[in-house]
């Protein structure tokens, strides 16, 4: 499946509930969600240098309700700030899968769009949205804090209207993302998170959740073992 075909597929958004009071409640939940975002900035490249001014007193992201967060399990936004080397991409995917839903991915800088100035390099991944569903790109090399804030506000708007649900895409098109990951990391690639199981439990199984690539995964998948503790 090509990227263009993937973009055409609309994720069925939650239908409006019949109870008007429930609708008010849903709106309220979305509003609150958009005003209290915790951001895990995975500082992969040079774009991270624009975040300290955006977060501190000069531009003050906190007035929009955005705060940095230290662990992926407590964060809502995964901010990828710059080039993603193939080695880093593995860690990014592990981090993304640990985050609790709903989760949003923002790709900052040209490198996440198309490889940027490292397009010739054998070591960097080019299109981030082949491996993870990206909600929003903030292009630029690097984008200024104003652009970052503008992007954040757009994301807030998307959350408020209920459009920002690309995290569902990861479950409903897991086969596509897994296939691209396997192409880079080899067929033995597996993560500790059971995405197919999560998709079942969230009731987000789609026709493309399972496919040839998940078949390979299920063949090579080894059960997780507790880490060996050594002094």
């Amino acid at each position: 499946m090509t990227q263009n075909e993937l973009e055409k597929i609309e994720i069925s958004t939650q239908p409006k509930r019949t109870n008007p009071l429930a609708n008010v409640f849903d709106d309220l939940v979305r509003f609150c969600r958009s005003r209290s975002m915790f951001m895990l900035h995975y500082c992969t490249g040079c774009g991270a240098i624009e975040l300290p001014p955006a977060m501190t007193s000069r531009f003050d992201m906190e007035r929009l309700g955005i705060q940095p967060m230290v662990t992926p399990r407590q964060a809502d936004i995964l901010l990828i700030t710059g080039y993603v080397s193939i080695k880093t991409l593995k860690r990014v995917i592990l981090t993304y899968e640990q985050m609790g839903s709903p989760k949003y991915v923002i790709g900052i800088c040209s490198c996440t769009v198309n490889g940027g100035m490292y397009w010739q390099s054998y070591a960097t991944a080019k299109k981030l949205d082949e491996y993870l569903p990206v909600d929003l790109y903030i292009a630029g090399c690097m984008p200024r804090p104003e652009a970052v804030m503008e992007g954040m506000q757009q994301l807030m708007q998307k959350i408020k209207t209920g459009e920002a649900d690309s995290w569902k895409k990861y479950y409903s098109h897991y086969d596509y993302y897994l296939g691209n990951q396997q192409q880079l990391f080899g067929n033995n690639w597996q993560t500790p998170t059971d995405i197919i199981g999560e998709a079942e439990s969230y009731q987000l199984m789609g026709p493309q959740t399972l496919g040839e690539h998940t078949k390979i995964l299920q063949q090579v998948q080894k059960p997780l073992e507790p880490l060996e503790m050594k002094l």
Binding site: G115, A123, K126, K127
Partner: protein
């Protein structure tokens, strides 16, 4: 380099065959030497002349001459002189001796060169993957590895002017001046 330092070094190194010393300035010396004599030179410089710091080993791929050049950079904290010892080895099979027994940090440099150029160092403690743990292809710093071609074969690219960009352009954003319209201005 003072006269006395230079004389000491000359006396010390006179036993080594085929050594060519070139002085660039007060603190830089270049030594061209045969691969067989290099361990002896390093041992002498470390043991008798105070060149205790192997600051790097670098590698150059001379593909037209079918050779690898290995450069050992040695520094002395006493005389504050950097000596670069250059050797040439055959590109095929690309095997050389490890100097791990003379300078322990050489293990890291040799492992790195093995990964990037495919040069094998006999006697080095660990020749396994170092930085490129996800890499399956040929050693990427070799001149015969075409990085651009590999990238073109492996990755897909974002469209230059995709459909969703047109929506953004209608709102006043997007690519304001295309490369075509800017051509000829400069």
């Amino acid at each position: 380099m003072s006269e006395a330092d230079s004389q000491k070094l000359n006396v010390l190194l006179q036993g080594i065959e085929g050594l060519q010393l070139t002085q660039f300035n007060q603190r830089r010396l270049r030594a061209d030497i045969s691969p067989e004599a290099l361990p002896a030179l390093l041992a002498l410089l470390r043991g008798r002349a105070g060149y205790v710091h192997l600051s790097a080993i670098s590698c150059v791929d001379w593909i037209a001459e079918d050779e690898f050049e290995l450069v050992y950079h040695l520094y002395s904290y006493e005389t504050k002189i950097l000596i670069s010892a250059h050797i040439r080895i055959a590109r095929d099979p690309g095997v050389y001796l490890s100097v791990f027994d003379i300078f322990t940090p050489a293990a890291f440099f040799e492992r790195d060169i093995h990964e990037m150029y495919g040069v094998y160092f006999e006697g080095s403690p660990d020749m396994s993957k170092f930085i490129l743990t996800e890499w399956q292809g040929p050693p990427p710093m070799r001149k015969d590895f075409d990085s651009e071609q590999w990238v073109m074969d492996t990755f897909n690219w974002q469209d230059y002017h995709p459909d969703w960009l047109q929506d953004i352009e209608q709102k006043g954003g997007g690519i304001v001046r295309t490369p075509e319209s800017r051509r000829g201005e400069e």
